[in-house]
């Protein structure tokens, strides 16, 4: 098994509590399914949408956000899969895709040379 990172970008929460709850339930079901099949190495962490950006040799510090809302990474998960194709397939069940969001699938580099 190889390791991959899912980066979640964008995704509307919706204006209605009922929709938000349905979204929550979909995420729970998706993670549960992935975990049962042994694909979740680390469920990961949510990230605040704001922060600081530190730049260059002058180390200038500016306030985030750094991109448009739809491009901001909202969290990540560490996934186990056979190869990149399987990892990409697994990401297709992510509920964020239903609400205008994206999953970026990136292989974790291997240490062996």
């Amino acid at each position: 098994m190889n390791e991959f990172v899912f980066l979640y970008r964008g995704g509307e929460t919706g204006r209605s509590p009922e929709r938000a709850q349905q979204m929550m339930q979909k995420w729970m079901a998706w993670f549960k399914d992935l975990a049962e099949k042994g694909h979740v190495k680390d469920r990961g962490q949510p990230l605040e949408r704001t922060g600081k950006l530190v730049n260059g040799t002058r180390k200038t510090v500016t306030d985030g956000p750094f991109a448009e809302a739809k491009d901001v990474v909202g969290g990540f998960t560490l996934i186990l899969a056979k190869d990149l194709d399987e990892a990409a397939d697994l990401s297709k069940g992510c509920p964020i895709l239903e609400v205008d969001g994206q999953v970026e699938v990136r292989p974790v580099m291997k240490l062996n040379m």
Partner: protein, 414 residues
């Protein structure tokens, strides 16, 4: 940890009510933003870390902390609830005051306060109902439009206008004043009654939506019953009529289709609701007061308690309609009475009763008036006439569900 059904919607109502109590009714929009924010945070964090042991408490704490931030940040620029201004201004009392407002008993009062505020005489009845659904039950504009089979634009306009009236009212309704409470109570009961009817008789073909509206009105009425000033026999009667009718809902609308009373599968009745309704009806009889809610509840009980359709005690139902006509006469009540008379004494008598209805003209645009005439004619064996009546009903049908129902009746005339 699983989320209980509609948890977010119910918590949204509680949070908005409490935040509005702290921020003041003129800052209703700010309260709604804070709630929205709390849900966004919940969603982002729970996704990765799982749902906490007590999701309601988590949401409330998040809303409380956000409220403290907002007050600290904006207390020089904004005014908050006038009766709390002094406590919110000083750092010595701020945290304690906000904490107190988020206590369980205080939140219940806040929901009641909001319910009474939504039933201001400055709002139309439909405005009151929409506002209750939106603010206290957490329905979005789209969800209300779906439930009422109305356009998004129409509902949005109604809610925006009603919210403005509410925000301009300067102060939330004071639920501790005995006299004011009693004076506003009938309007609140009426709004909850209309909300229930929207679920029971309304246009939505979706069984889930209908039962949600019914259950929301039952939930809010029980909130009213938990308050000593709200627990009047009339409120018990209202709760009884809701429970007894809601008990029959699973048999009334099956797979998006209306089922006539005589054809309903009584084994589908919700026994728990029926028993709850019976208990409430007994509570309602504790005083001399006899309201239209008492009579409607008693009629619902007569229907719900009949084992089979042919066991229905029509004589009692007719006499209850007689009393209802005395308290709250209307052409629709008269029509229902005529239908009950026809059940007891035959279709000929039903037709006579209908002819005797004052302002029967006002029923001309009501599809079920024509449908009632159609049923009488079927029973008299005049299928041709029955068909004409059902055709008239069909042309007046207000939604696909009614249309299907009348088409099915037309087919049975052949």
């Amino acid at each position: 940890m699983e989320l209980s059904e509609h948890l977010f919607r119910h918590e949204a109502g509680r949070m908005v009510a409490t935040l509005t109590r702290i921020f003041g009714v003129h800052n209703l929009a700010l309260a709604e933003d804070v709630v929205q924010d709390a849900f966004c945070r919940a969603l982002e964090i729970w996704k990765f870390r799982g749902v906490p042991e007590n999701p309601s408490a988590w949401l409330m704490t998040t809303a409380k902390n956000r409220a403290l931030d907002v007050v600290r940040r904006e207390r020089t620029a904004r005014t908050f609830a006038p009766e709390l201004t002094r406590q919110l201004e000083s750092e010595w009392t701020l945290a304690h005051t906000v904490e107190e407002q988020f206590g369980a008993a205080a939140i219940k009062d806040d929901e009641l306060r909001m319910m009474f505020s939504c039933c201001s005489p400055r709002l139309s009845e439909e405005g009151q109902v929409a506002l209750i659904l939106h603010i206290l039950c957490g329905f979005s504009v789209d969800e209300i439009a779906g439930a009422f089979v109305s356009s998004h634009a129409a509902i949005e306009k109604r809610i925006t206008r009603s919210k403005k009236v509410l925000a301009d009212s300067k102060k939330l309704f004071d639920v501790s004043g005995c006299e004011d409470f009693s004076r506003r109570l009938p309007a609140v009961q009426r709004a909850l009654y209309l909300l229930f009817n929207e679920g029971y008789h309304g246009a939505s073909p979706e069984a889930a939506v209908r039962s949600e509206l019914c259950h929301e009105s039952i939930r809010l009425t029980s909130l009213l019953l938990q308050n000593p000033l709200g627990a009047k026999p009339s409120t018990y009667a209202l709760a009884a009529l809701m429970s007894l009718n809601a008990a029959r809902l699973p048999a009334r609308v099956v797979a998006g289709n209306l089922t006539a009373l005589a054809d309903q599968d009584r084994s589908q009745f919700d026994q728990r609701l029926a028993e709850q309704g019976q208990r409430l009806l007994e509570e309602a009889a504790s005083g001399p007061e006899l309201t239209d809610y008492h009579l409607e509840a008693a009629i619902a009980w007569a229907h719900t308690s009949a084992q089979r359709s042919e066991d229905t005690d029509w004589a009692t139902i007719v006499s209850l309609y007689d009393k209802l006509m005395a308290i709250r006469p209307s052409p629709i009540v008269a029509l229902n009475r005529a239908i009950a008379v026809a059940q007891r004494e035959g279709p000929q008598r039903g037709l006579e009763e209908i002819r005797a209805i004052q302002d029967v003209k006002r029923l001309e645009t009501y599809p079920f008036f024509h449908a009632a005439l159609g049923e009488f004619e079927i029973r008299r064996g005049h299928l041709q006439d029955a068909r004409h009546h059902f055709d008239a009903a069909l042309s007046l049908a207000r939604n696909p569900m009614e249309r299907n129902f009348f088409e099915q009746r037309i087919r049975s005339c052949k």
